[in-house]
Amino acid sequence: MTLARSEYRTIVVGAGIVGLFTAYHLARAGAGPILVVDRGFLSNGGSGRNGGGVRQQWETRSTIRLAREAVADYRRFSSEFGYNIWFRQGGYLFLADSPTELARLARVHAVVRAEGLPSELLDADAVGARLDGLAPGAVLGGSYLRSDGTLYPFPAVWGVYEAARRLGVEVALGVDCRGVTVRDGRVAGVATSAGTVATGTLVNAAGGWSGDLSRSAGLDVPNVASRHEILATEPTKPFLDPMVVRASDGLYFSQTMRGELVGGLTVPHPPGTARGVPSSPRFLTAMAGALVGLWPRLGALGVLRAWTGFYDDTPDGLPIVGADPRLAGFVHANGFGGHGFMLAPAATRRVAAAVLGERVDLDPAEFSPGRFVGRTTPTTVERLQLG
């Protein structure tokens, strides 16, 4: 693989949804030449391994706002990018299985309402009316927001990939970023498997590997790659409209447009990227147990395949967006945990603004890379995490 140039204005590491959207926004602003490198194939990171969930029910107002903007983006996606991403707004139905969870959903509901979104609190009967045949006593209540939904991630990646390329972005697949060259305290270039390339700006959109990349540039960052597993069943006729989630154990599942039930559950694994992404029997059996325990009629469904990807977790559950104060030219677009796909279109507008040196309309205490420097307790924490 040879690159078209020896110098780019911006190099984005990672051709996942975040890296591609960043390049797209930059190219639209006419800020080329732009190179996106990815060591794998298109969609080999989290962007090709996620559950496609898009929700606006969060504990923190800033996340709700980003998600809300992204919902509007994804609603427009098909016309803008010419790809049908099957964005179906069947809602997100949160389930509470304890009084504590019920109280938490009520708190979330209040915040979501205050942001102007019409979420509803449901009692156990109302939940049962939506999910026929739940195990008795499994659910105490829930909350529901109709405009949340699910999409099919692959076409979203292709759409942005093709649009970015049409705008002149060079996307080099199979090219590994091996290190960052620093001169006079700022980014001067990157060493890649296709040679050294000069640039003044590097965007770290390496998903689960972004901590590895930042650390290779000498930056102490709190990103932790955590392995998360997911499965799909054989497709059936539609029986489920919303994405169903249970925050107490991170269970989530929805039915795709193709009819498959797709979902995951939090199963702890040792952190880090070193072990790759194997599937575990523990996940398969625990996930099956959770599904059948909640909704016995799912028992007859056959599991078609299971797979695994990385979340890129941060201590406060909020992404890291913006220029690193310690190394000029190093811009973060990472730390998206288990919700980077849904936030990508909106969050990357801010990444592009940071690259262009424009004002970023996000609270630095919540999103900037600098918030972790010399600080141990975060100001805001987003706790409503799944899977």
Partner: protein, 458 residues
């Protein structure tokens, strides 16, 4: 035009265009069309809630075919009591061994650190009883299956694999296939002729036809067409015949028949090796990945042994390879000559076949992936759009993501992409095999939920 009329939104993935205000309706219609059948009701699921089977012992043998049974006999002779399991509901007993019939092994994770029982094998017994088998050693002798074939109308009723034909033909010559065209020239074709017998009307082979097939065909007085391209099905609703063409630019002609029996290529059931992390290698002879196996039957994973045709051994040596794998597992001396293997290098018959076939006309529907209804043209379109490699094309087209998880379509897709990308098939990719091997009921897995403690966090 539509873009002008409805500028607010036109969806185009795979060519379907519609105005945005119809999104909801359109999605409802598409959802109705998707899915194989309705979700079974709660009653059906309750019937499935059976306790799981657990077995612990020194050795488990997966597959009770010739190789597997030979391995079991050898293990029993050495004083072990192995477990043997097989998908078939009726499997002859092997004295001295535990038997789990009607049982499909679907997940063999890489060995754990536990030196006593490094392997855990998961699966289910019909209809939905989970099992977990813990063992020190695993002998996988899962054999193979009949590959599909690309031609026009290959999804028409009447096109079946040899295995399908056998299931439809309880006794030789009986069954619904009255005028079958058998595709293939090797031992599988010979077996198909034996079973279908007088129902066979012609034998067509992509390559040469072996003497045992020639002998059978001439006994039955059936015409033989070696080195022949299968171009398309004749008949609109169902198979009425086949359009053929002699290879090397020869004449086109047709044969009559009511069915097409695919017996031209056996592919290995190698998924458990992939899952366990065994080193795999390409064998051009059939055009498939097999585990890298020593002559004794050891894979690259300590404790995991491979035997029979699924390991890459030629069918005649399956039994001997089973014995050798068992001997290796027992660390006992191994005698006899090493087994013969399916060739690694050399020309791949189907690669050349498809190169020639696809250069010609393509009448009718050419279905690359029957589960997800992906057409050959869609794979070529992905290539034209710049998508490269099997992992990417699989995601782009959906090829290989259905019920069979790519067993039937990905091997041919690999050959197609090799031709399009002008690379060798192993360069085009290694197909990631995700567990489970076969659809495994949630109820079966749920019954095993306490079987796996959390991984230690260092």
């Amino acid at each position: 035009m539509l873009d002008v009329l409805f500028p607010s939104g036109i969806d185009t993935l795979h060519g379907f265009r519609r105005p945005r205000f119809l999104t909801g309706l359109y999605q409802r219609v598409v959802r109705r069309l998707s899915g194989y059948s309705a979700l079974p009701d709660a009653g059906a699921a309750r019937c499935l809630a059976a306790p799981a089977t657990r077995w612990t012992g020194p050795t488990v043998v997966v597959g009770a075919g010739r190789a597997g049974r030979a391995a079991v006999r050898r293990l029993v002779a050495a004083g072990e009591r192995p477990l043997v399991l097989d998908r078939a509901l009726r499997v002859p007993e092997v004295p001295g061994a535990d038997l789990l019939p009607g049982s499909t092994a679907t997940f063999l994770p890489p060995p754990s650190g536990d030196p006593d029982r490094p392997f855990t094998l998961l699966g289910y017994s019909e209809p939905a009883r989970g099992f977990a088998v813990r063992a020190r050693r695993v002998v996988v002798a899962t054999g193979g299956y009949d590959a599909g074939l690309l031609f026009g109308g290959n999804d028409r009723p009447g096109v079946v694999t040899a295995e399908g034909a056998f299931a439809l033909t309880p006794t030789p010559g009986a069954g619904p296939l009255r005028r079958a065209v058998v595709i293939g020239g090797g031992d599988r074709a010979a077996a198909a002729i034996d079973r279908l017998h007088e129902s066979v009307v012609a034998v067509v082979a992509p390559g040469e036809i072996r003497p045992e097939v020639v002998r059978r065909a001439s006994e039955l007085g059936v015409p033989l067409f070696p080195r022949t391209l299968v171009r398309s099905v004749v008949g609109r609703r169902r198979v009425r015949g086949l359009r053929l063409e002699s290879r090397g630019g020869g004449a086109s002609f047709s044969v009559d028949g009511d069915s097409v029996v695919l017996a031209h290529r056996r592919l290995p059931h190698a998924q458990l090796f992939f899952q366990a992390g065994a080193r795999m290698g390409w064998r051009a002879g059939t055009g498939a990945y097999y585990p890298e196996v020593s002559d004794a039957g050891a894979t690259s994973v300590p404790g995991l042994y491979a035997a029979g045709t699924g390991a890459g051994v030629v069918p005649d040596d399956a039994e001997a390879s089973g014995e050798r794998a068992a001997a290796a597992a027992l660390a006992a001396p191994i005698d006899g000559p090493p087994p013969r293997w399916i060739p690694r290098d050399g020309p791949s018959e189907m690669e050349g076949y498809y190169r020639e076939l696809l250069a010609g006309p393509r009448p009718g529907r050419w279905v690359a992936c029957p589960c997800e209804d992906v057409l050959l043209g869609e794979i070529e379109e992905a290539h034209r759009a710049g998508y490269r490699g099997i992992e990417v094309v699989k995601r782009y087209t959906g090829v290989g993501t259905g019920l069979c998880q790519g067993r039937y379509c990905l091997p041919d897709t690999l050959l197609l992409l090799a031709r399009l990308e002008q690379r060798s098939p192993p360069e085009v990719g290694y197909i990631t095999q995700r567990p489970p091997v076969h659809p495994t009921p949630l109820a079966a897995l749920a019954a095993l939920r306490d079987e796996f403690p959390a991984e230690a966090t260092p």
